[in-house]
Each structure stands twice: as C-alpha cells, then as structure tokens.
C-alpha cells in the first residue's frame, strides 16, 4: 500500500478565474471539492485570479475564465467553464500517460 501510494503521481492543477464572478466561484468550489474527494493529499491546486494578475494569462494562453489547467501528470488538458459537469472533469483529470 505504501509502495502503491508512492507510485501515484502528483496531480498539479492551475485554475484561472475572474474575481468573484459567479462561474469563477463555482469553478473554485467544484475544483476544491473534487481534489479533496479524489486526490486527497497528492494534489496541488493553484488558483490564479486574472483580475489581480492579468499578465499570467499570457503564459498559458488563457482566453476565457474560468479555465482549469491540468499541468501534471501529462497529458496536459484544459477544461473550460464552471466545472459543474463533475463526472467529465474527473475523467479528464484522471487521464494519465505515465
């Protein structure tokens, strides 16, 4: 079990939002609860508010908020929208090439 756990790769997520806009708040809540439920202690969720840090959108070529980036494990994915379709989101996040 310990070995198995160690073998699990770390999930790295970045969520771009726009302040307190309703879909952004929904996306934050959905992302947090998904991670808590399915990736408990082996995830990193980074939340970037573009109203505060607009220039960071440039690096990841973000064109709308909310956008969730799956950075690791590969393949990288981006999910657009408020993450209400949790089943689909979970499927995407669980895709693992490694």
């Amino acid at each position: 079990m310990v070995t198995a756990r160690r073998a699990e790769p770390r999930l790295h997520l970045r969520l771009y939002i726009a302040g307190n806009a309703p879909n952004s708040l929904l996306a934050v809540a959905n992302a947090k609860s998904l991670c808590e439920e399915h990736f408990a202690e082996r995830h990193v969720l980074e939340i970037v508010d573009l109203l505060e840090q607009p220039l960071r959108a440039l690096a990841d070529a973000i064109i709308v908020t909310p956008t969730l980036l799956k950075l690791a494990p590969l393949p990288a994915y981006r999910v657009i929208g408020n993450l209400n379709d949790r089943k689909q989101v979970l499927l995407t996040l669980s895709t693992n090439d490694e």
Binding site: A18, G19, P22, L55, A57, I63, T65, I80, G81
Partner: protein
C-alpha cells in the same frame, strides 16, 4: 513524424478546446474573456446575468401580477397575454394570441364614444371601467388601462393594456351607494327636522323637513345662522345651547323658532356635539321636533281636565243649587198663595195690607237669600268654565278663588272632614282666575278623596293662606291616607294615579304643577303615610293692585228725574222684570228683538239708555250697536250690555274693544239704576231726550 503527430494531436486538442469554449460560452459558464493583446479580462457575466435576472424579474411580475396584461400590435392583433388575463377571460393564453382584440372586447373598443384604437393611436392613455363578457358568457366589471406603444422613432406600433377585475370594487361602490341612499331616505322621510351646524352655529346641512318647519327652501337655509330663527319667546342662550357641548354629551331643550312668515313654531331639540380628532368642537347635529300641536293639545288637555273636575262635581253642585232653589220656589209659592187668598177679600183693603205686611217679609227675605246663594254658585261654576284664552291673567285675589273652589268642592268635603280655614290677608297674585281655581280645586278634591267617608268629626282638611315676604303660600293639608314614599316622587307625573280606572285621569297634579310653574310658582308635597298629606303652592305676589274693584256702587237717591229706557232682550221674563222694577222711576220701552229696537230708533225715538242683551238670535247686541252707530250714533253711545257669561270669541273681542258698560247677569236693580243715573246726567239738562 513525431512532430507531425504531435502537432496533429495539439491541433485536435486546440479544436476541442475551442469547441468547449464555445459550448461554455453558450451555456453561460464564462465569466470573462481575455483580450489577448492587453491580457485584460472583459467581464461578461455581470452584464449577462443582470440582463437575465431583469428578464426573469419582469417575467415573474408579468405572470404573478393580479392584473391581466396584454399587448396588441398596430393591427390590433393580440401579441401577448399573461396567464392572469387569460384566466380572467376564461381562455388559455395561446387561444388569445394571434386573434383580433375585437373578438374579446367588442364593447370596449367599438362602442360609440368608447376609448377606441384611433384615440390610442394619437398617443392618449385611457382608463375606463367597462362590462366585459367572458368566454362562458358571464359578465365581469373590468377596469381597463390602455396606453400606446411607440418605437424609438415615436411611431405607433401597438397597445399595452392592463385589466383588473373590478367586480368587487363595483359591488362595493354599489353597496356604498345603496347604503347612502338608505340613509338619505331615512333623513329625508323622517318627520323630525335634522340640522347640522358648524362651530359658528351656521347651518351646513338640513333635511327637507327642517326647512319646511321654518318655511324655507332647503337650499336657501344653508349658511344661515341658527340665531336668525330665534324668537323673543325663546329662553336666552338657546342658539348657543346648540353648541355648548362636551364630547358624548347630549342636550335636550325646548324653545321656539320664528318661521319665514313670522309665525312661531314650538320645537323640542335634541342635539349632540361634533368634535374633530383634536377634541375641538366643530359643530353640532340636532334633531328638531315640531311640538306646536303637542303644546296646543296640552293646553286643551288642561281645559278638559278643568271641565272634568267640574263634571265630577256636577252632582255636588246640583245639590248645592237644589237646596236654595227649594227654598226660593217654596217661599215664592207661599207668597203667591198668600196673595191669592187675600185677593178675594179686596173690600177690606186695610185688613189685606196688614195681613200681607205680617206674612210676606220673612219668606220674601228667605227667597232673596236663597237666590243670592244660587248666584254665588253659578259665579263659581262660571269661573271654571272660562275659555282657555284668558291665560294671560291679571292680579287676582287668592282668597276669593279659594273660597269659590271650596264652595264647589263642599259636597265632597263635608262627609269626610271638617274644614279649617286659616286665611291671612295676602297680596294679589298674577294668574288666571280659572287656572288657579283649577289648581285649588284639584288639591282640595285630592285632599277630600284621601279621607274615607263617614268620619267627618275625626278628620279635617286645613287650608292655609299666608304671605311671607314677596310670596303668597297656599297650603292644603289633609288627615288622609298619605302617600307611600315610593310614590311620592311620581305624584306630579302625567297619568300616574293610584285611583281605580275611571276615577280621575291621573293628569290633575301634573297639570297643577305645570300651571303653577308657568306663573313662576312652586308646587311641593309632603306626606306621612297614614298621617296625611300637605300640598303647598307658593306664588310670587303681584306688584299690581287689584283691578277688579267692585263696580256698580248704587247712587242713593239719584237725580230724581225720570229717564227714558229701552230694554232689548229675547228673554221675556227678564223683559217683564226690568219693566216692572224700573217703571216706578223711569219710562220704559221693552222689546224682544234687536230689529224692532233699530226700527224704533230709526224713526227718531230717543232714549237715555239702551239696555241690551249681548247675545240674541237674529240680531245680536253687537249688531244693533254697529247699526245704531250708522243710523243714530248718539244712541249707540248710550248702549249698556247685559250678559249671561256665555261668551263667544267675537263677543269677548267686542267687549274688550268697546267702552260700553257691561253688566253681568244676575245683576241687582241698584247696579242698573246707578248706570242709568249716569246716563241721565249726561243728557242735555231740562226735559231730556224727546
């Protein structure tokens, strides 16, 4: 290869992302779009959701409002209805949309004069309560508000209309109207006058009855001040009395108002003050009842009661008259017999004369005395039967009236009690003789009836008259049954009586109380049950001296000159008597008709005195007088009237106005002689009239 594959995979991913972005955008999951040139996020969501919310809000309002809402296009085709309107009309919304509005509201849009479409096209909003028919044919009152819809260029493109179910409102209005109508009918058909005045006592409302009572048109009376109707007879401060109220206090008083034509109307007023929220008096509402007839009936009732008293006493009075009448007739018959028995023996003149001197004087004296007694009784009766017009009264002698009353009631008293009279000399009082007599008679009768018959020596009725200061007090005390304490407060109430039905009207003391109060006096009662009762009348003493000084003081001796007298009376006995008694000293012509007398004077006959009965059939004394004034004015001045006391209103007015002497029957020879002497003295000295 790998790059190709990679790039192909990347492209696929980018396309998938673009799809996802568009889908998210369309489903409203996007908050902001990032401008790639400036990296500035453009917030979409605020504007979008605000619009959506606003739309939601309006939809909510439109669908939940109590008003039916619908829109028409420029061709009056229904383009939208809300659920409420469809419900009100009994349709489903999609049954109405697309139809012409005239299908549903023909009355509203096409009735002549109704607010139609052309009107709306000019841009006027309308509001109208109309009856509309539902799908099932039932009628509904609806308030329809319409306003034109114009596009941004101001061009008319249709109508927005709202409809409210007005049926309940209409019913409430109808109920209110009916209610008001009911109150108006009550106010207008009541037999009492109703008047409302403002704080300055000006009339702000009256019903028709109040206006009629005062002889005005209802519209003319509005705005008049209540004091414009006040009369001098009204108690002072009566107009103010309509206003001087505290909240909740009711006020009732009697007064009299002057009508438009100057006549007076007696009214009873019940008023209540009107107050604003601050408790300030803002007027008064009064119910005014015309009691003129009631007052008249009251005074008639007083006379009736007096007559009833006399009626009750009639048997007693007849008895009083019968005694002296027996003596009178008996003595006269005795004298007549004496005369007849001596008439046959005319040869012995001396013996006849002596016999007559011995036998006649005593019975003759008795006959005269008996006749005098009858005269008093008749005088007393006359006092009580006076017409009700002499209410003004003058200074009258209380003791004389009491004596008369006691004589009237004597038959009631003597079987029950001993009469004790304690009369001190007192001043005259201002009153009507008849009414005061009615009071005394009532009190005496009550005293007598309180005592059972048969123990006259054990009971007494004490009548006291005395004066203290400016008041004359008359007390009537009896040793009768007394009045139980529970009844003493009611003895002056009208119709209160403890006597059996048919005995007494229960009005006597109530009327006494009113009579006494009317002349400024007081009537009080004290009673000990089983010991007796005292009624006490206290009257203000008159400031006048007695006017009714005894007249007809005979001139002893006279002028000694023979006069010429014409006597006119339809009563033959009186004619013969007067001829007999005057013939020794004067020349007498006796006629039984006024016409004959007039004819005689017209022929030139002249008299020192014409003694004429006032009331005669055919030509009355008054007629003769006025005819003589035309034919022989000098003779008219010499008329002296005789009257038995049965006055008509005309006779009373005539006597009040004329300066002719009037002698009341029965009169004494001396009275007539005295007047005749005065007339002879007025005649030219020498041998008198031709």
């Amino acid at each position: 290869m790998s790059s190709e594959l990679l790039s192909s995979g990347a492209l696929e991913r980018r396309l998938a992302e673009a799809d996802a972005t568009i889908a998210a955008l369309l489903s409203g999951q996007i908050d902001a779009v990032i401008d790639p040139r400036t990296s500035t996020p453009l917030l979409l969501s605020a504007a979008q959701s605000a619009l959506r919310e606003s739309e939601e809000r309006y939809r909510h309002i439109v669908e939940t409002t109590h008003e039916g809402i619908w829109t028409l296009d420029a061709d009056t085709v229904v383009t939208f209805v809300n659920q409420r309107l469809a419900d009100l009309m009994g349709y489903a919304p999609d049954e109405m949309v697309g139809q012409s509005v005239f299908e549903f509201f023909p009355e509203f849009f096409s009735a002549p004069g109704a607010p139609g479409v052309p009107h709306l096209q000019r841009g006027h909003a309308e509001e109208e309560a109309v009856a509309v028919s539902r799908r099932d044919g039932s009628k509904m009152w609806a308030l329809i508000k319409t306003r034109p819809i114009c596009d941004t260029n101001g061009k008319y493109v249709g109508i927005l209309a709202m409809m409210t179910d007005w049926t309940r409102h209409r019913d409430a209005e109808e109920a209110l109207r009916r209610n008001e109508e009911q109150y108006r009918q009550i106010v207008e058909t009541t037999t009492d006058g109703i008047v409302k005045v403002d704080a300055s006592a000006c009339i702000v409302f009256t019903n028709r009855r109040f206006a009629e009572m005062l002889g005005y048109e209802p519209n003319d009376i509005i705005g008049m001040h209540i004091s414009e109707f006040s009369s001098e007879d009204a108690p002072p401060g009566a107009p103010a009395a309509l206003l001087s109220h505290r909240p909740g206090e009711k006020n009732a008083f009697d007064t009299s108002y002057r009508r438009c034509d100057g006549t007076l109307v007696s009214v009873n007023i019940a008023s209540v003050g009107l107050f604003d929220e601050g408790g300030l008096c803002c007027g008064s509402l009064a119910v005014v009842r015309d009691v003129t007839n009631q007052r008249r009936l009251q005074s008639q009732l007083m006379v009736s009661d007096r007559m009833a008293s006399v009626g009750t006493l009639a048997a007693g009075v007849a008895h009083e008259i019968n005694n002296p009448l027996t003596a009178l007739i008996g003595n006269l018959e005795y004298i007549n017999e004496c005369m007849a028995s001596t008439a046959g023996d005319l040869k012995d003149v001396y013996a006849t004369g002596r016999s007559m001197r011995a036998t006649i004087p005593e019975p003759l004296q008795d006959a005269i005395e008996a006749a005098q007694r009858i005269r008093f009784i008749v005088h007393d009766l006359k006092m009580f039967s006076r017409a009700p017009v002499d209410v003004k009264g003058s200074a009258v002698d209380v003791i004389a009236i009491m004596e008369s009353s006691l004589r009237m009631a004597w038959n009631e008293i003597r079987h029950r009690a001993q009469l004790v009279k304690e009369f001190s000399p007192v001043a005259f009082v201002d009153a009507s003789e008849a009414r005061l007599g009615q009071v005394f008679l009532n009190l005496i009768m009550n005293a007598a009836q309180a005592i059972p018959e048969g123990h006259a020596d054990e009971n007494h009725i004490r009548v006291g008259i005395e004066q203290t200061g400016a008041r004359v007090t008359i007390a009537v005390h009896d040793t009768g049954a007394g009045i139980p304490p529970e009844n003493i407060g009611r003895v002056f109430d009208a119709f209160f009586t403890t006597k059996a039905v048919g005995i007494g009207t229960g009005l006597g003391l109530a009327i006494c109380h009113r009579i006494v109060t009317d002349i400024g006096g007081e009537l009080t009662v004290e009673s000990l049950e089983g010991r007796g009762t005292t009624f006490c009348v206290s009257l203000p003493a008159s400031e006048c001296l007695a006017l009714d000084a005894p007249t007809g003081v005979a001139l002893r001796g006279g002028t000694g000159r023979r006069g010429r007298v014409l006597i006119v009376d339809d009563e033959e006995i009186l004619l013969r008597l007067l001829s007999r008694s005057l013939a020794s000293d004067h020349d007498v012509v006796a006629l039984s008709s006024g016409k004959d007398a007039l004819a005689l004077c017209a022929k030139g006959e002249r008299f020192d005195m014409i003694l004429c009965d006032l009331m005669m059939p055919e030509m009355t004394g008054m007629d003769l007088c006025s005819e003589l004034a035309r034919v022989a004015p000098e003779q008219a001045d010499r008329m002296v009237f005789m009257t038995g006391g049965a006055f008509t209103a005309r006779a009373r007015a005539f006597l009040d106005a004329s300066e002719h002497p009037c002698v009341e029957k029965p009169f004494e020879r001396a009275t007539v002689l005295a007047i005749l002497e005065r007339h002879i003295l007025r005649s030219p000295s020498g041998d008198g009239p031709a």
